[in-house]
Symmetry: C2
Subunit: 458 residues, 2 copies
């Protein structure tokens, strides 16, 4: 896939030697302080990331469109604002990448489609407007799989380029992992945020269903669609979440003092798909946490996973078909095999099976809340069955999709690296609306058992 | 401008001699009966209008995109539905054209922009969804002036092709007037529905501000933007309005028995721009109605028109600039002179002048309602100062824009033809939310003083 560059290279000629600080692997919080104190300009920061994109994109293919000139103009404006003493907050001047199913004004929303490659958005999606208001600098649109489903994208995993970065937020995860951008937006209907983040060794948050607006975003299955956030570091993820989360509604944390109890599921640990390398890493992580005083309880989910996955598949197929089938019949050439099969499946389901699935979904979301509250703990699970597979797939969403179905908030982060340098990640799942508490738990766990840091790939 | 045809011609080869009924100048109500009784199929009806487009478009240039294959497929589905006994109502199978700033799924929303010419809409605008649900068959997108402002479009007036059809809903009005489609959607921020309808000799309704959703439509100035409806005949306009109007909220008609009082404004009749030919036609129309028992009262508007037009210009410029200025700075080549000047003006206005205009707008909308109620009548005015000017302008919106500003419903229809075959039209203005009563008044007046019918132009 050829990257569209929007005059990127010409704008980047000025970058050479603009500043000595190498920011690609730095934390936003540190960079933010440098920006605020005038040691670094927003423009220099944007230039550094654009240079990193120019250097690494040829191997990674994480970007559907890079808006170098727009980003540099915005950076200039934000520098001028800062000089006038107006500081928008911790996202002021921080570059971000936006998954290419989310509308960004005056950039195409390609959605992995050939026909939509020049479909310029005429409005920002509300979530993009929030980012701009918080001072973020949009570097461009990151590669999505076609229509955010499972057909493989051109993007490579930065740690081993013949492997998948996961999907469908492939470009967002790969761009963050490769240090091309510190933050990115993705979306998840099955496992499209958590899986690529886990495969790329970065942090991600899929908030509670309904927490962030999905307006201005291509739907896959509206009953399951979530916006997701990605970052290289937990602190950066927290900053991004703080900028986007709805105003607190005064909902008290369900697990005010959840103690130090972690729940895990036999359905995950005994799943035949679980690879030995992941099993070992997870067990070791469990033990280290236990030694640090955390308690573990292995308990089955109150709702059979097989039911959840079956109903998830029905809702996904039916709603995707409802959105896409007319266009698919008209432009079959614009639909690769997996989304084609999904639409066919959706058209073949009976209304009854969809009705049943929707009823199950509603009830399951209520039941799981009560169960988590009674259990008094947080779920901790392997984020994926193992390491990223080769690039002819985006990997199996089976380990992530139940939490999209239940609509619970999920955080993923790496806990170990394989001997050949691939990340292994866990996911934490918390009660509905408890994103802050979940991020704070993730912080405790990752500080208790730190994952060894890696240098930038590529 | 080259018309994009979407395989139109190949689909039309089958049309020849498919039915003997010539429908281009027929009323929907009559056609609907023929469809319902199986004398005509929806597909044949669509084919006839597509054939008319193929024959006349080379002279009129009313279409930004014609979706012949999509329309014929939809017609087929609606025929099958009808055969199963499912009849959606009076719009079942009726072709319609949609102004090219309104999103129609899988067709580009070009907005008169070069860069947006391939910007495929990923959702129907809600108003388009309503049309589909009512059974309308979308033939394609009609030409708009660039961004629905005053820069001339490629479209010609069907009655004299060297004259303007008016703007910005140029293609919608010209297509209906030329018998290419019985119905069309337009939009009006100043006079963009009423002016082109009047210049093209057709019927149009600009409903009360806020009655129809403008979601999924390119904004020009959201405080003033309206969706508008166009048709060749009053009955067709009524059918279209019935399909789109919000569910009645039980608001009683303000003018339950308005009697037979018509109000007119000295500001219009003494306006130096009023052409003698229009002045004569309007006076004659007044006299004929008077002879039929209608009373006339010439009374000034309670709010000075000069104030209304000044504040209208401020709101229009400021809101257009707010939407467009970033894109205009980036792509100045995509903005022709008049919209460029509008954006410049908008950027130069003070916040105070905008605030003042918005306050005036709110108060004026309240005051005019009370005034109309006290006056107990309906406003009847020339729709335009005169006949359509040459094509280097879309005409002066000064006679239509006050009613966009005040947000009152307006109906326009022709009352006479000049000796060289150009239409002269009036506009009726009624109290807020009283579209049905206004259409009913228009029916009485047009039956009392009928406008001589014309054969199809071109």
């Amino acid at each position: 896939m050829a990257i569209r560059t929007f005059r990127m290279i010409s704008s980047l000629q000025a970058v050479q030697g603009s500043t000595g600080i190498m920011v690609s692997s730095a934390r936003i919080s540190g960079v933010g302080e440098a920006l605020r104190q005038g040691q670094l300009s927003v423009r220099q920061l944007a230039e550094q990331f654009l240079k990193r994109i120019a250097d690494a994109e040829g191997q990674i293919h994480a970007w559907a469109a890079v808006d170098a000139s727009g980003a540099l103009q915005e950076a200039q404006r934000l520098d001028e604002e800062a000089q006038r003493g107006h500081w928008r907050g911790p996202l002021h001047g921080i570059p971000i990448g936006i998954k290419d199913i989310i509308d960004v004004f005056d950039l195409p929303t390609g959605c992995g489609s050939q026909r939509w490659a020049n479909s310029y958005a005429r409005q920002d999606a509300p979530i993009v407007r929030q980012l701009r208001q918080a001072g973020a600098v949009i570097l461009g649109k990151t590669v999505t799989t076609p229509y955010a489903y499972l057909d493989p994208p051109p993007t490579c995993n930065p740690w081993q380029t013949e492997r998948t970065p996961g999907g469908s937020s492939s470009g967002s995860a790969a761009a963050v992992a490769a240090g091309m951008v510190p933050l990115a937006l993705g979306s998840q209907t099955g496992g499209s945020v958590i899986r690529p983040a886990a495969y790329c060794g970065i942090w991600a948050l899929k908030p509670t269903f309904g927490q962030l607006s999905t307006r201005g975003i291509l739907p896959l299955a509206p009953s399951l669609d979530h916006v997701g956030l990605m970052a290289g570091h937990l602190e950066d993820l927290q900053i991004l979440w703080s900028a986007l989360r709805p105003a607190p509604m005064g909902i008290p944390p369900l697990l005010e003092s959840p103690g130090r109890l972690l729940l895990t599921l036999p359905e995950y640990l005994q799943d035949p798909r679980l690879e030995p390398v992941m099993h070992r890493a997870f067990k070791q992580w469990q033990q280290q946490l236990e030694q640090a005083g955390w308690q573990w309880l292995e308990t089955p989910l109150p709702i059979p996973l097989v039911e959840i996955r079956r109903h998830h598949a029905v809702i996904l197929a039916v709603e995707a078909a409802a959105f896409h089938h007319g266009r698919w019949q008209r432009h079959p050439d614009d639909y690769p095999p997996k989304i084609t099969q999904l639409i066919r499946d959706g058209l073949n389901h009976s209304a009854w099976s969809y009705h049943e699935a929707r009823q199950h979904l509603r009830q399951a979301r209520r039941e799981i809340d009560a169960w988590l509250l009674r259990a008094g703990g947080w779920l901790a699970l392997p984020a994926t069955p193992g390491t990223p597979p080769p690039r002819d797939t985006t990997g199996d969403p089976a380990f992530q999709s139940p939490w999209s179905y239940l609509g619970l908030p999920v955080v993923t982060f790496p806990i170990a690296w394989t001997s050949d340098g691939l990340p292994l990640a866990v996911q934490l799942i918390g009660p509905r609306w408890q994103e802050e508490a979940l991020l704070s738990l993730a912080q405790q766990l990752s500080q208790t058992v730190p994952c060894p840091p890696r240098r930038l790939p590529v």
